[in-house]
Amino acid sequence: MASYEDCVAGPLEGHVERREALLKLERVTQSFRMNNGVELVVLKELDLEIIDIKFKPQIVSLLGPSGSGKTTALRIIAGLDKPKFGQVLIGDGEQGSLRRVRAGDVGVVFQRYPLFDDLRVVDNLVEPAVRIGKMSRKEALDQALQYLDRFNLVRQGYSWPVQLSGGQRQRVAILQQLITGKKFIVLDEPFSGLDPISVSNAIQLISEIAHQHTLNTFIIVTHDVSAALLISDHVYLLGRERDEKGNPLPGARVVKVYDLIAEGIAYRDNMEDLPRYRELYKQICRKDFPLL
């Protein structure tokens, strides 16, 4: 098993070792009956595959316009909702074996960062760690304090969740999922409603966590093009395809995948200064980003 020490810092040198699929969406279709009785197809035969990259933190983005079905897809990935058709498969630790996802397999950081408000911050980490992470209370407390220290939350350890700032809440919510040993963590719009500085802080924070937990895969759901490019190694663009006349077909799917490792801009500092980053950004904003 890879550990933190095995993780290669900085950009990838030479070839990238890609391994088997970790998470797979197969022809996921979801629809809702609307109030006028019409069935609204939100996702249509959505295919998506996340491949393990050896010794690298892994962050992928699901990018799409507002209303394209990102949250819908996230809830299906997390096992909170069942799709009408199709399935989500997840690696169960053993090489190459996939099984259907169940609620609890995938950690979710919800958009509003719900926490257990009747537990102090540290207990919001300790309790799940003991119950799900299979730690003893002492191990859990050590681990929780270590996390809080590393993410600049020590002084908030014995605060109540309602006393936290938005950014602190976000960090605790991420740590809560981490400490239970989730292999996958999905974040719903972690950058929405943040000022530009806070966005770059959040990007840095999530990358940092990912670098320290190279065994985890983070899936970021967002409509922020630059944030998606800055943070991910792969970006999946979600949108509706068009027919010959240019009319959108019902139901969103992955219309394009950007492999930022192949593009040479993944895992780099000051990525915003790279010409390739700027080209891609323009391409997505002006051409690729699907209208809904």
């Binding site: 997390a78 096992g79 909170l80 609620a103 609890g104 397999d105 995938v106 950690g107 979710v108 919800f110 509003r112 719900p114 926490l115 257990f116 408000d117 009747d118 309790e127 799940p128 119950r131 799900i132 109540w160 309602v162 006393q163 938005g166 809440r169 809560q176 999922q177 239970t180």
Partner: protein, 263 residues
């Protein structure tokens, strides 16, 4: 500065200092006393008459005994009703027991005295009858309030437990039972008042043991109004103390519940 302080008395969520709060309280009490003393209602006994009546009842009429009888009913009934109501409210989260929970809530519309015949066939007149009756009567109201608290838990909280991987019991304890405790306590405190309405009627109906309700019945049937008002004031005093105990317990046991949501 002084003006600022006074103007906050009529400001929305205005803040006042402790001395001003105490002054306000004394002011209101004084106003009440003046109103009482100079009341045009001739049937109303004077404060002195009421105090004398209270002293007489304590000294000669075993008021302390009656007080203990009533307090015992009050506390035992409240404890039973809380336990029973919590159980029915919690069970209401399971589809199997949903309708049972609804039915109990609807029963609060049925006049409470209507249940005396049912209890008379089950118990002979005495403490068990009174407790059973009070527990039942209060539970209709408690279950309604407690169920509303449970229903107001955001779906997000259940989903947080779900994605963490909590099982049914862990989710129930973490999302339903534990965080609602302070609210449940509020519900009990609110309904303790209804409990006192019921206690006085129950004790009027089942008088053999005595109790404040029985005393009120006895004194009002003999037109001893000073005694009746004395007893009513005594109940008011007990209620105020009980309320303060609930507030104190809430602060002690659930400090987070007094913090306001910020975002």
């Amino acid at each position: 500065m002084q003006e600022n302080k006074l103007s906050s008395l009529l400001k929305l969520r205005g803040e006042i200092t402790k001395p001003i709060r105490l002054a306000l309280l004394s002011g209101w009490m004084l106003l009440f006393l003046i109103f009482w003393i100079f009341s045009p209602m001739k049937a109303l006994p004077t404060p002195t008459e009421v105090l004398l009546a209270l002293r007489r009842m304590f000294a000669e009429q075993h008021l302390l005994y009656h007080l203990v009888v009533t307090l015992k009913l009050n506390i035992v009934g409240l404890v039973y009703a809380t336990v029973v109501s919590l159980l029915i409210s919690y069970l209401g989260t399971l589809p199997l027991f949903y309708h049972l929970n609804r039915a109990v809530q609807l029963l609060r519309y049925i006049p409470f005295v209507g249940f005396n015949l049912i209890f008379l066939t089950l118990f002979t007149i005495g403490f068990p009858l009174k407790v059973a009756w009070l527990t039942t009567g209060m539970s209709f109201f408690l279950v309604t309030g407690m169920t509303a608290v449970i229903e107001s838990i955001p779906r997000m909280k259940y989903e947080l437990a779900q994605v963490l991987g909590y099982n049914g019991w862990q989710t129930f304890y973490t999302v339903v039972a534990r965080p609602t405790l302070p609210h449940m306590m509020d519900i009990v405190a609110q309904n303790a008042a209804i409990g006192w309405v019921m206690i006085t009627s129950i004790e009027t109906y089942a008088r053999t043991e005595g109790g404040i309700g029985a005393q009120i019945y006895q004194y009002s049937s003999t037109n001893n109004l000073a005694e009746v008002y004395g007893l009513l004031m005594l109940i008011g005093l007990i209620a105020a103390v009980e309320d303060a105990i609930f507030v104190f317990l809430r602060r002690m046991l659930f400090p987070y519940s007094t913090l306001a949501e910020r975002a």
